[in-house]
């Protein structure tokens, strides 16, 4: 009913133009499906919930260069000052900043004997005091937080306790509750006292990104270069930097305060490569569809001009306008579907190459399918205008200029 046979034979008579169109569609499907897969993957990375009160956390670094300074005492005094500032909800030292792309990674083992013990996966290793959890805005779902008198100041103290993130607990203990378990770092024992719903680490592309631990050490005394997190309502944050600078410089001028940024700004920066990739690829896909559509329109238009006489003849012999439009649509759908099938296969091959070369995950079959459907829509839009124009060719044209 679609007159496939005459269309096919007319296509076979002048092969070069349809072959080019076919080639273009094959390549387009291959590119669009791989690109949109990568775009989707990056977007879903960017949309992961961090579990932090990103908008409310202001982070900064502090460098004390006064040789006379007692870092241990100073750290305590500074935290007190920060917490007493107006509009500050809470403040804490931390050895590393979430989502910052730099920090500590470590692992526990489940026994004191290093040779037989089983190790946990690597995790982001936060050291902090009882305020840290509140500053982060992370949600405790089992167990309890540290209390003030449980906080250690050195890595070799006894009485180590830890809060672990839920994904880490699931990965190592499965359904069993980790609460009360004793883990080891060398000979040192660590008791798990709490589970936190979500606590991302520092490295967004690391496979253990969701695995984190907070241990009860206020480590701020051990180095002159430290980072702090201050929590306040978003509307108070812009004014806070100045307040903090003034307060801390009044306490001791021999230090450099730097890198003030909110956690959401930090996140934005850390994800900028992924955002860039998603944006560039999206632009590529849009331009590709645009060029394909315009190219198609141009070619169909020229074909119609070339076939004006034939169309006029067909109309004179009784073909309806609808038949003419249908002719062009079917012709292009045929090319599009054949191209789509070959292109889809090429897309999978290309995806396989990308996977083996750059260890990207494999493109699921749904992407080529959606790309082909998208291209069908584009083809329809591109062909319908010139085809309608062709249908309006008067039958009288056939008799002229012979």
């Amino acid at each position: 009913m679609f007159h496939i046979k005459p269309i096919l034979s007319s296509l076979m008579r002048s092969k070069s133009a349809p072959i080019l169109l076919l080639l273009q569609i094959i390549l387009s499907v291959a590119i669009v499906s791989n690109a949109s897969f990568i775009i989707n993957e990056r977007l879903s990375l960017m949309q992961r919930e961090s579990g932090y009160a990103e908008e409310q956390i202001l982070t900064f670094s502090m460098y004390n260069f006064d040789p006379a300074i007692d870092n241990m005492k100073q750290n305590q005094v500074d935290q007190q000052i920060l917490r007493s500032l107006p509009n500050v909800i809470d403040a804490s030292y931390s050895n590393m900043l979430p989502l910052s792309d730099s920090g500590w990674m470590d692992r526990y083992v489940d026994g004191p004997d290093a040779d037989t013990a089983k190790g946990t996966p690597g995790f982001a290793f936060y050291l902090g005091n009882e305020h840290l959890l509140n500053v982060m805005g992370a949600k405790l779902i089992a167990g309890r937080n540290f209390t003030a008198d449980e906080i250690n100041t050195s890595l070799d103290d006894s009485g180590m306790m830890a809060l672990v993130s839920q994904p880490l607990a699931k990965a190592f203990w499965g359904e069993e509750s980790p609460l009360g378990k004793t883990m080891y770092q060398g000979a040192q024992a660590v008791t798990i006292i709490g589970v936190v719903d979500k606590l991302q680490g520092a490295w967004i592309d690391h496979e253990n990104f969701e695995y984190s631990v907070i241990q009860n050490i206020d480590f701020g005394g051990s180095s002159s270069n430290k980072s702090y997190m201050v929590r306040a309502l978003p509307e108070h944050i812009p004014a806070l930097e100045e307040t903090i600078r003034k307060a801390l410089h009044a306490e001791n001028p021999n230090r450099v305060l730097d890198h003030f940024q909110t956690l959401s700004e930090m996140k934005n920066l850390t994800y900028s490569n992924h955002r860039l990739m998603a944006t560039v690829l999206s632009i590529m896909v849009i331009l590709l569809l645009l060029i394909t559509a315009l190219g198609l329109t141009g070619m169909v238009m020229f074909n119609i001009q070339r076939r004006t006489k034939q169309i006029g003849t067909r109309r004179a012999l009784g073909a309806k306008k609808r038949d003419i439009i249908q002719y062009f649509m079917v012709e292009n759908y045929m090319i599009c579907i054949v191209g789509g099938v070959i292109g889809g296969m090429l897309a999978l091959v290309l995806g396989q190459q990308l996977m083996s070369l750059y260890s990207l995950p494999m493109v699921p079959v749904i992407y080529p399918i959606v790309s082909v459907i998208g291209l069908l829509v584009v083809t329809t839009l591109a062909v319908i205008i010139p085809a309608t124009k062709a249908a309006n060719i008067s039958p009288a044209m056939a008799t002229r200029s012979v």
């Binding site: 070069s16 273009q24 590119i31 260069f65 180095s223 070619m299």
Partner: protein, 437 residues
């Protein structure tokens, strides 16, 4: 004749403005995208060492235990760094890492600034050909007996000493006095090949101090410290004695012989260290536990060019090929439509070659316009990358080679797209078209 063909081509382009614009648009977008990704790729994969690429070498040691890391790590331990520094096998060598210190001068009006600082040996300046404006690097014995000496950048010299020769003057780093022995000219190799570990496109440090001060001054390490076993670092001497890796080691090897000699010395070194209980991964032979990397290998191993970038280059080349096919189709239809005209020209004496070259000129012209517009696209998108994605200027600046590569791509794309249509049209038989006229 050429100019006549140009005139004809221009007329033909103007006769079908929409179609011509479409072709120019397609070719220019294809070229714009390809040039953008190629440009970023090219600047990222640039090797700043140039002809010294094979002379400058870094050393990696397989110091990790059994079943821990499964590849060479770019840095080495303090113990190994000291052993390699103190050994006379090499005449030129430098250990290096990055730290940060607060910088002040005698002038109380200038506020202290926290500066990132390179801790290294004097040969660092030789190995990386760092240009000096005033003075020079510190004396050889400073590398053995620590002294508070410093080399600063031209920029800092301008800021703290108004650009005058400051050699012999004093600056304070963390409130300790250091004597300036040299001022270097602007030096900021991109990628930062001597330390790509903390951001390959970060700026070079502007302060250089002797590595020999490390043990007594206990500088913070502003870079990665990696360990493969549990070793708490409670004090700085724990760090120095540990198996943690955090120092890069550089040397100059001028010939294959020198490289072989050093390789065998290092092999003996590993054997000797095994004898005292280090380098416990016996799955590697001592010779395998040693790696000497020249700059090309070093940049490759440290993933200076992100894999995203390689994917983008590949996809944009595919994109360009779509544009090529697109233009090919358009040119074919356009030229075939003019077949009657060609028939007449052939009948009145034009040769096939003439017809072919006439149409190739037209194709070339479209390619040329497309290339120019494409370069504009590329420039625009690179500027956008710089301003919206805070990509470094050094990566988004248009590389000089692009002025050659762009026209080359543009013309070859156009020619590839144009050869077939022009060939088809020049084969037109005059008789067929004369009949239908």
């Amino acid at each position: 004749m050429f100019f006549y063909y140009c005139d004809l081509a221009w007329r033909s382009i103007r006769k079908t403005p929409m179609l011509s614009m479409l072709m120019v648009l397609a070719i220019s977008i294809g070229i714009g995208i390809t040039i953008t990704t190629l440009n970023v790729y090219k600047t990222m994969s640039y090797n700043p060492a140039g002809e010294r690429s094979e002379v400058i070498n870094s050393v990696q040691l397989w110091s990790q235990g059994l079943d821990t890391w499964d590849e060479f790590i770019s840095s080495i331990t303090y113990t190994d760094a000291m052993n390699l520094r103190n050994n006379a096998e090499l005449s030129v060598k430098a250990a290096t890492y990055r730290t940060g210190l607060a910088l002040q001068s005698d002038n109380p009006k200038i506020e202290p600034v926290l500066q990132s600082v390179r801790v290294t040996d004097r040969d660092f300046f030789k190995i990386f050909s760092v240009p000096f404006l005033y003075g020079s690097y510190w004396d050889a014995n400073v590398d053995l007996r620590p002294a508070y000496q410093v080399v600063i950048s031209q920029k800092l010299n301008l800021r703290f000493f108004e650009g005058k020769n400051s050699v012999g003057k004093t600056v304070f780093l963390d409130r300790k006095p250091y004597q300036i022995v040299g001022v270097i000219e602007d030096w900021n190799p991109q990628p930062k090949y001597y330390d790509p570990l903390n951001g390959a496109f970060n700026d070079a440090e502007e302060i250089f101090i002797p590595f020999s001060l490390t043990a007594q001054e206990e500088f913070d390490v502003w870079g990665n410290t990696s360990g493969w076993q549990f070793e708490p670092m409670l004090t700085y001497s724990d760090r120095l004695a540990s198996e943690k890796v955090w120092i890069q080691f550089w040397t100059e090897l001028n010939s294959e012989d020198e490289k072989q000699n050093y390789q065998s010395w290092l092999t003996r070194y590993v054997e000797q260290q095994r004898a005292i209980g280090r380098f416990t991964d016996t799955a590697k032979t001592p010779a395998e536990a040693v790696q000497i990397s020249d700059i090309d290998k070093w940049l490759e191993d440290n993933n200076v060019v992100p894999k995203d970038n390689k994917i983008l280059v590949g996809l944009s080349l595919l994109f360009l090929s779509v544009c090529l096919v697109n233009i090919l189709g358009l040119l074919l239809t356009k030229f075939l439509k003019r077949a009657p005209e060609v028939g007449v020209r052939r009948a009145i004496g034009a040769s096939r070659g003439q017809i072919f070259s006439q149409y190739m000129v037209e194709v070339g012209m479209i390619g040329f316009i497309g290339g120019v517009v494409g370069l504009l696209w590329a420039w625009g998108s690179l500027t956008a990358l710089h301003s919206y994605f805070s990509m470094d200027q050094s990566v988004t600046g248009l590389d000089a080679s692009m002025w050659v590569i762009t026209p080359l791509i543009a013309i070859s794309t156009a020619v590839l797209a144009g050869v077939y249509p022009a060939w088809v049209v020049c084969r037109t038989k005059p008789s067929v078209y004369l009949k239908t006229q």
